[in-house]
């Protein structure tokens, strides 16, 4: 990925890759597995293929899916103050705003911590499973992947985990607070989500959606 394309262009457009951040154009050269193609101008990673990444991502996505469902309904914090006990699940936390005019906020909170991560996992599976099985891509797979990418900044599970820790310290002197099973599920979830993000090479996905292997 050394040569920046000069102004008079005689290379077919399919052999070009353009940095999405700074619009520098390069002659496409797919790096070896384990290597990275990085934009020379702004250091954005353009291509970073990994061996068996598809299968790993699918495994991680399944794990995320199961943990997400579990973490939604199990209690994640319980509180005990002078005999008054209360334990809450993530659904309860999201619905904390459900009274009165804050109902919109309840919906937004639920979406950010449960629905959007869930949607992204399902879109990822929908897109990647056919590719890994060498089948033709699923219908509208490209739109699905694009939606999944657009939702990325709005998926806030990891922020919620840190929020839990802050809330815990806030009420620590008011009552005894303990972590429930869902908290540990959510913590594991965050690790899996980060791993999945770092394994995924977007360019490789686009490329295999565009040129599916004939089987």
């Amino acid at each position: 990925m050394k040569d920046t394309v000069d102004h008079e262009l005689d290379i077919p457009l399919t052999d070009l890759i353009v940095c999405p951040q700074c619009d520098a154009a390069y002659h496409l050269q797919v790096p070896e597995v384990g290597e990275k193609a990085v934009c020379q101008r702004c250091n954005t990673v353009l291509i970073a293929p990994r061996r068996k990444a598809g299968l790993q991502i699918i495994a991680l996505a399944l794990g995320i899916f199961i943990l997400l469902i579990g973490a939604t309904f199990f209690p994640f914090l319980d509180i005990d103050a002078a005999g008054n006990k209360n334990s809450v699940s993530i659904v309860d936390a999201a619905l904390a705003f459900a009274n009165g005019p804050l109902i919109m906020l309840a919906l937004v909170t639920a979406a950010l911590i449960i629905l959007i991560p869930l949607a992204r996992v399902m879109l990822t599976l929908y897109v990647l499973v056919p590719i890994v099985l060498d089948m033709p891509p699923a219908r509208h797979a490209m739109q699905a992947f694009r939606l999944s990418e657009a939702l990325r900044p709005w998926s806030m599970a990891e922020i919620f985990v840190l929020g839990c820790a802050v809330a815990l310290v806030k009420v620590a002197d008011l009552a005894t607070v303990g972590f429930g099973p869902a908290f540990w599920m959510f913590s594991a979830l965050v690790v899996l989500i980060v791993a999945q993000e770092s394994f995924m090479c977007k360019w490789s996905v686009w490329n295999s959606l565009e040129h599916p292997k004939k089987s």
Binding site: C22, I113, F145, W154, A167, L174, K202, L209
Partner: protein, 201 residues
């Protein structure tokens, strides 16, 4: 150079192609309305940030008293209890980061029009930091949600969300939209030999 590239999937197309043929993303060589959108979202975000700091974020009812605390008030209270670490997290996430974000987005948007003393690389880095860190301001909303669902101990103590929580969430969402509307390719244009695509393209 006569090409336009998809910012979603990096594929190049002949100039003037409206929609990416691979992924269906809308394409423009440069989004010249970008700055207008940035400023519009930026302003709404800033407008929401003011009531978010004036109104109470949390209403705490204990046996003897009802207490309403704003964002800064709550952090100061925590520090007085000795929880300096947590009060610092809250101050950074809900005061320092939002203010720095407003400043950074404004700086980037102005720097595209007039030359300011910051190189392309530092501006690109600034943009990436703003995009990455913006989401973390939501932490305060999640803390409020957790606290007000958890601390419902009948007569002993209850915590309920205050009106500031909604304004704060809106402020975070609008600044995120503002940062996303910024076309980072504009940063690099004056470096190109032809000074980048012009307005009429």
């Amino acid at each position: 150079m006569g090409i336009v590239a998809c910012t979603r999937c990096t594929k190049a197309w002949p100039l003037g192609t409206p929609v990416c043929g691979r992924c269906g993303h809308k394409m423009v060589s440069r989004d010249f309305q970008s700055l207008q959108k940035v400023w519009a979202f930026w302003l709404v975000g800033l407008m929401c940030y003011i009531p978010a700091n004036i109104y109470p974020m949390l209403k705490t009812k204990t046996l003897f008293q009802v207490e309403e605390s704003t964002i800064i008030g709550g952090a100061v209270e925590l520090a007085q209890h000795g929880a300096y670490g947590v009060s610092l997290i809250i101050l950074v996430a809900s005061v320092v980061i939002p203010l720095a974000k407003f400043w950074a987005i404004a700086y980037l948007a102005i720097s595209v029009k007039t030359r300011l003393p910051a190189g392309n690389h530092s501006r690109q880095l600034m943009y990436e930091i703003v995009e990455y860190i913006g989401r973390w301001s939501m932490i305060d909303i999640f803390v409020v949600a957790i606290l007000s669902s958890l601390v419902q101990l009948k007569t002993l103590a209850t915590i309920n969300p205050g009106p500031a929580s909604m304004f704060f969430a809106l402020s975070v969402i609008f600044t995120m939209l503002s940062a996303q509307a910024f076309d980072s390719r504009l940063i690099w244009d004056h470096e190109a030999k032809d000074r980048g695509p012009q307005q009429d393209v």
